[in-house]
């Protein structure tokens, strides 16, 4: 089965990349800063505390040995100790992960649900008004400073119109729902509290829109251009010459071929969403990993920053692997 070989090949390729990722993070966290021990202990720690930390973390050992220790820690799930919270970074990340996941997932769904049809319409009605509008929208999308967009949205919908709340996942007065998945939208429904669900939803709208705006624009663009590229292909002319209905030609024959580049970009976008979440969560006070790392930056909580970086890039690599696998299902030329 060639598809299995393909997946295995991708996995094998993955391993040096993952090692490289750990190496890069190691270099950044241990080799670049002037005094890694000081960075890990925090600016305010006493000299004694720094020396203790240096010895206990083995930061006085030669670099290669440090790297092995680092890798070992990773296998055990040890990402270091947050200076700010005085607890393992991995625990912090576990706490904040669901909020980010919820935001990222919703944004992804939004991007596809809006971006795909918009891109298709744009391609089919090329150079007509709707196309021009969506192209302008695309340019704005990729040029938009996410944090500024968030502020403008707050200005409009929170301050001026008062329709939507400005921060957090839930009104301060409400207790969080029962922790089933960590995703408020699901948990509130599980709990059966309709009012809480609406509240969570309202808190959700602005951050989700803000986060997805950029990638919506990107996805629309890629769908449009790949559809246009496919529509010029001979096999589309053949389908038309055989009398197939226009809708079938677009939605079946053209779209399936366009999905390949679309899926690739979508996969890349998920990774970028993780990056964009940093800014969006900060603006909307959304208690996710993004806000966590920005707070850590302000505190110069070095281990937290590095832990976050590692987790996010691992996720990014895994997602790209998934995209590659999906690729194989979409493009028969890879499988056979």
């Amino acid at each position: 089965m060639r598809i299995l070989t393909y997946i295995l090949k991708r996995l094998v390729y993955l391993i040096p990349v993952l090692i490289g990722v750990t190496l890069l993070v190691f270099v950044i966290s241990h080799a670049i800063p002037g005094d890694p021990a000081r960075m890990m202990a925090g600016q305010k720690a006493s000299r004694e505390a720094v020396e203790n930390l240096r010895r206990s973390l083995g930061l006085d050992r030669p670099l290669p040995e440090q790297y092995i220790r680092f890798l070992g820690g990773l296998f055990r799930g040890d990402l270091g100790m947050s200076i700010r919270n005085q607890r393992p970074v991995i625990d912090d990340i576990k706490d904040f992960f669901p909020a980010t996941l919820e935001l990222t997932l919703a944004s992804m769904v939004l991007c596809i649900a809006v971006g795909l049809p918009l891109g298709i319409i744009s391609a089919v009605r090329r150079n007509r008004p709707i196309d021009h509008i969506s192209r302008v929208f695309s340019v704005f999308g990729v040029s938009m400073p996410v944090f500024w967009l968030g502020l403008m949205l707050l200005l409009l919908f929170y301050r001026n119109l008062g329709w939507l709340p400005g921060s957090g996942r839930l009104d301060m007065a409400l207790d969080p729902p029962v922790h089933v998945t960590g995703l408020y939208l699901i948990d509130t429904l599980w709990e059966g509290s309709g009012a809480k669900f609406w509240n969570a939803l309202k808190h959700f709208i602005l951050p989700a829109f803000c986060l997805s705006y950029v990638y919506l624009a990107i996805i629309t663009r890629i769908v449009r251009s790949s559809m246009i590229a496919v529509m010029g292909q001979d096999y589309i002319t053949t389908a038309r010459a055989n009398g197939l209905a226009e809708a079938v030609i677009i939605l079946k024959h053209t779209l399936k071929n366009s999905l390949i580049p679309t899926v690739t970009i979508t996969g890349l976008s998920i990774g970028e969403l993780l990056g964009g979440a940093i800014l969006t969560e900060t603006i909307f006070n959304w208690p996710g990993m993004g806000k966590y790392v920005v707070d850590s930056v302000n505190f110069l909580d070095f281990p937290a920053i590095m832990g976050f970086t590692l987790v996010v890039s691992f996720a990014y690599v895994m997602i790209n692997l998934l995209v590659d696998v999906l690729y194989a299902f979409l493009d028969p030329q890879i499988r056979y």
Partner: protein, 325 residues
């Protein structure tokens, strides 16, 4: 006329581009009779493909547009019929096969799926029935192991096999007319011969008329009953194949035939037609061939030549045959 299947009259097609208006087809007229194979020959860029696509209204608008003329098919002007009617005709009463078999099939669907889709669209059969039709057609085009082929993806087949699949697919609904746009040009010579034979046999057996487009006179000579010669968007000569080769009337046709190198002639240099094919945004006035014509006369640059019948089935558009003969 009895026996006429397709009658193209005064067809004009233009393309509206940034650089200007391309006058791709200018009052083109030709007719295909029932059961005959009509060849359409001309150099690259003369408008053969545009003509072929115009018949099924496949010209992309923008930038192209059919600006005049009629195309009568079984008595109906198919340029003016509804979109539903033309969809009914496509793949069903008039079929088309294209030049590039490598890209004419959708790479993400299996061959059987694509063939069955067409059959189920036009005929009242279900999936199983369509499958039977497809297998039968694949056998007709001498495909080894038709059942296997149905489950393959296009990239798993060779160029020649793909073209045969195309032929099978396009003939599966028993069309009255098949338009073949350079079907063998992209194939190896050996495969070419195979495909040509299949095409010839099948169409004659089923009484399918063919509009066979090519720039290769050799292929035309092999398979066609009559031939139309095209130059720069106009038809310049139409004649039965034998007569075209033995008694070409139009200077362009003569030049073309002369340019075919023959092994037994002692000639040192290749004979060429002087000049180059004109761009169609600003084509020459009058007869479009006149700047290159060896027998050019006074009216050639001024007046478009009328089509004249020099014999009952041989027509030419050239001032040489205007008043005299």
């Amino acid at each position: 006329m009895a026996g006429t299947l397709l009658d193209i009259r005064d067809l004009s097609v233009r393309f509206f581009t940034y650089q200007g208006v391309v006058k791709a087809l200018e009052k083109v007229g030709l007719a295909v009779s029932k059961g005959e194979i009509l060849g359409l020959v001309g150099e690259t860029g003369c408008g053969k493909s545009v003509l072929a696509r115009s018949i099924l209204r496949l010209i992309a608008d923008p930038p192209g547009r059919i600006t005049g003329g009629e195309i009568f098919f079984k008595g109906e002007d198919i340029l003016k019929t509804s979109h539903r009617r033309i969809r009914q005709i496509r793949g069903n009463e008039i079929s088309m096969i294209f030049q590039e078999p490598m890209s004419s099939l959708n790479p993400v669907f299996r061959v059987g799926h694509q063939m069955q889709e067409v059959v189920m669209l036009h005929q009242r059969v279900d999936g199983a029935g369509a499958r039977k039709v497809c297998i039968d057609m694949l056998q007709q085009v001498k495909m080894p192991d038709p059942e296997e082929v149905l489950s393959k993806y296009p990239h798993e087949l060779s160029g020649g096999m793909r073209q045969r699949v195309m032929i099978a697919m396009e003939l599966s609904c028993r069309p009255d007319l098949l338009i073949a746009d350079e079907p063998t040009t992209a194939l190896d010579v050996t495969v070419q011969a195979q495909v040509l034979t299949i095409l010839d046999d099948l169409t004659r057996k089923r009484g399918v008329s063919v509009l066979f487009i090519s720039h290769d006179l050799g292929v035309i000579a092999q398979i066609c009953d009559r031939v139309a010669v095209m130059y720069a968007g106009r038809i310049v000569e139409i004649a039965p194949v034998g007569e075209l080769f033995s008694e070409p009337r139009h200077p362009y046709t003569r030049g073309l035939l002369r340019a075919i190198p023959r092994v037994n002639e002692g000639r040192e240099t290749l004979s060429v037609i002087a000049g180059t094919v004109p761009g169609l945004i600003d084509p020459p006035g009058g007869c479009r061939f006149h700047p290159r014509c060896e027998e050019v006369m006074a009216p050639c640059g001024r007046d478009v030549p009328e089509t004249v019948k020099v014999t009952p089935d041989h027509e030419v558009a050239c001032h040489l045959y205007d008043g005299d003969n």
